[in-house]
Amino acid sequence: MTSFAYFPGCASEGSGREFADTMEVVIQALDHDLQEIPDWNCCGASSAHSVSEFLSLALPGRDLVKAEQMGLDVVAPCAACYSRLATAALELPRQRELEGEEPPDFRGGIKVVHPLKLLSTPEALAVVGSKLTRTLKDLPVVTYYGCLAVRPAAVTGVTGSELENPTMMDTVLELLGAEVIDWPHKTSCCGASQTLPKPLLARNLTLEIVDCAVASGAEAIVTGCPLCFLNLELQQVQAKTDGDREQQHIPVFYISELMALCMGIGDLKLAFENHLIPVDGPLDSRELTWR
């Protein structure tokens, strides 16, 4: 068993509730212990680094100092939180050397781990395999990683073909019995950071991804990022409301939800009923009951 300092992130309290809930259950089922960082603050996500380099390091820095006091590596489910925390974990000790200014409290004694890596190690796959209570019965899906789980490479440590064609979720889904379809938009940007200030920009990027998923024959998109998830769902819904699109919506799943479903753990009714786009289609046709 490994213990981690857990950084839930602001999305876990609202838009990405079902992700945090199912991710926690799955990580615990993999025999890890999650200890929430006490009184954690927002990492600043896409906004702090747009206005101040100091804040972009200082906000996640406060959380990292607490985690370091706990003596534990950090797990943050949200790709944006992961990216900001991992950037600061890399930068802060280095800044200390470079600038030689007031010593930062963070010494760099701990790492920030991306949950998708945690879920797809050989050890994790072995545990998941041993705990499967049912399979996805060849459900055709595409995996959507988005940006920050893989980029920038200097922060994520992702290298080689994995940068453009990551396979962390693919491996897990194949184990769960899904048919993972090859497609070109695994790491395309959905524009989530522009969802609020410039919605049409985000919509255009997202619908291109959604259209390609449908054309590739997938019945669902699987993601591991709450910002991507929100964008993939709400841009489809809002495009229909605005009369931009007639097409059928394609459901979106979190990787952790499908893992929980196949391992028979967690409250999936709570998770799936929270989706804006119903998941009944792909699940009911395969008699994968969750209610």
């Binding site: 927002c42 802060l92 920038p152």
Partner: protein
Amino acid sequence: MPKPTSHSEPLSASPSEPIPASRLTVGSTHNASLAACYQCGKCSTGCPVASMADVLPHRIVRLVQLGLKRDPMGSEHIWNCTGCSTCSTRCPNQVPVAELMDHLKADALANLIPLGADAAKIAQFHVLFNKSVCKYGRQYELGTVRKLKSSRELLGQFKLGIKMLRRGKLRLRPTRIRDRKEVRELFRRAGMGK
């Protein structure tokens, strides 16, 4: 830790002055300098918002190299940038293009560069987001949305808003951390708090 007041120092010589090549670095996650750019254009080819760019990413790098920093600081593209880092990741010379966009945005705000309507809206979003974090220590999504959107825009997304509220995807009230003073102090040191 970078000096709060000098976060933009490597690039913030007067916008019209040429910047010495040795100082053309951005952040230190990437040690490569902007001077390494040889204008292959790979960053612009992979950029998801290049089709709507007023100034393409590789041209922005060139302008900064030439010391003509004021032009890109006033461009809409640095605000349209989604922060996907495709440019930085694909650059054959490890030029930190995405990080440069962040620096230019911060500099544009600090130097009160006039912005077009779309750019101003995006800048306003980032400022409101940060204010929310400064106030509560966490992001209060509904509060930020209410301040950012006009009544007409809010009405257009009314149905969606209700759906999200019902599902608990939008919280009616902010969550506050205990030690908000500590977070506010960080904003003060960044020159952004009271």
